[in-house]
Symmetry: C2
Subunit: 211 residues, 2 copies
DNA sequence: CCTGGTACCTACTCGCGAGTAAGACTACTG
DNA sequence: CAGTAGTCTTACTCGCGAGTAGGTACCAGG
């Protein structure tokens, strides 16, 4: 891009969106350090000083990307989950929403998961924040549905494991895109709800329509 | 370090180990890009040209670190697992070995998990390799123990999810070091073997000594 | 048609870090 | 006490990329 001379004059808000999109794309491909402001400006179709005028430094830009994508994702999940249902159904709808989002927003997911988690800068804040929200959401679901009262640490660590399993399975999915999102989600649902112990016996979990 | 003038004369093999240790330390703290050869040489107590003389370029050094740490970890797990036992016991011993290793080798773990997975260079090879070995180990355990024959993709994705859950729980553990390794391992064992469905009912998995 | 304001540019500075040239110190070997 | 092989150093080069100075085109409203 950026081969022609001057770019069309556009209102600031529109340019900012374009820049953010370009930044997410480049960051997802190269990671924070390897991505250069020059390349981002090129992909965005404008010159470097515009980046600095609108979005500030490289760090600010990256943090803004993370914030935007994290918000989009959490909203997608929040919209998808059905809060008045049984715990297993809640979990199921949450998983479906999560894998749905990842499937349609690979770049967002890569920025959030791979890139942001590595850098120790001001980004960790944004990222940890979102992850914490996700984990405590699951932890709450767990605590609320369990009969034997579990300690806070226990619920939290299990939630962390579940979230991690989801992240990792999403990662695996990127290498096997032929599988539909629903199938992947269902597999994770079976793993965490039934456990291997049941699965090796042939007992599987079914969505509510089959009950 | 490196405040005094000349370093003591040492045989190459010893220096190489020192350098590798320093490199793992620095890489684990800063990540590949942010780590500088200057800092590594300083921590190692030696000057920069020695690095290049012994370990080659920065990329080679990093790849060598990954190879070494990955091997150490896989060996630790292989040593810990008990191959002639029931599937659940095998899994249990593997988990214990894994968390044991991570607990005693935080830096190794950070390099392997956080840093290596992000860089797309020649490292991905080493890393993916180890991860693949781990995943297919678990997948084999699964396939071998299941009665209803599962597809290869199914077993592999479940294994990926389990490995991911382990990785993520290890990450969580770094922020909650007060918990002993065994407890964390047992929690993951319960999650993946029993599933939430059983756990919320109060059914837990016990190690074989209790049976 | 001027006057300001906003979008946009070319063309720099400047520091940091990878990698190297060229040689100095030590120790063993005959 | 040479000679030589291996260890170790200081002091560079050089490119890349973050960030900026100092403009130019374009569009209002007067």
């Amino acid at each position: 891009m950026r081969t022609e001379g001057r770019a069309k004059r556009l209102p600031r808000a529109v340019r900012e969106r374009q820049i953010m999109d370009a930044a997410v794309d480049v960051f997802s491909r190269l990671g924070f350090h390897a991505a250069s402001m020059d390349e981002i400006s090129e992909v965005a179709g404008i010159s470097k000083p515009m980046l600095y005028a609108y979005l500030g430094s490289k760090e600010e830009l990256f943090a803004t990307c993370i914030r935007r994508e994290a918000t989009r994702m959490m909203e997608a999940i929040a919209t998808g989950v059905e809060p008045d249902q049984e715990p297993d159904v809640q979990l199921w709808s949450g998983l479906r929403a999560f894998f749905g989002f990842v499937g349609e927003n690979r770049a967002s997911w890569l920025v959030l998961h791979r890139q942001a988690s590595t850098q120790g800068g001001p980004f960790a804040v944004e990222l940890t924040d979102m992850r914490t929200r996700a984990v405590s959401l699951v932890a709450a679901l767990l605590t609320q549905s369990t009969k034997a009262p579990a300690t806070k640490l226990e619920a939290e660590s299990l939630a962390a494991a579940l979230v991690g399993a989801g992240e990792s399975l999403a990662e695996w999915w990127l290498d096997h895109p032929e599988e539909p999102a629903g199938v992947v989600a269902a597999r994770l649902m079976n793993l965490v709800w039934m456990g291997f112990g049941d699965l090796v016996e042939g007992n599987v979990w079914h969505p509510p329509s089959r009950r």
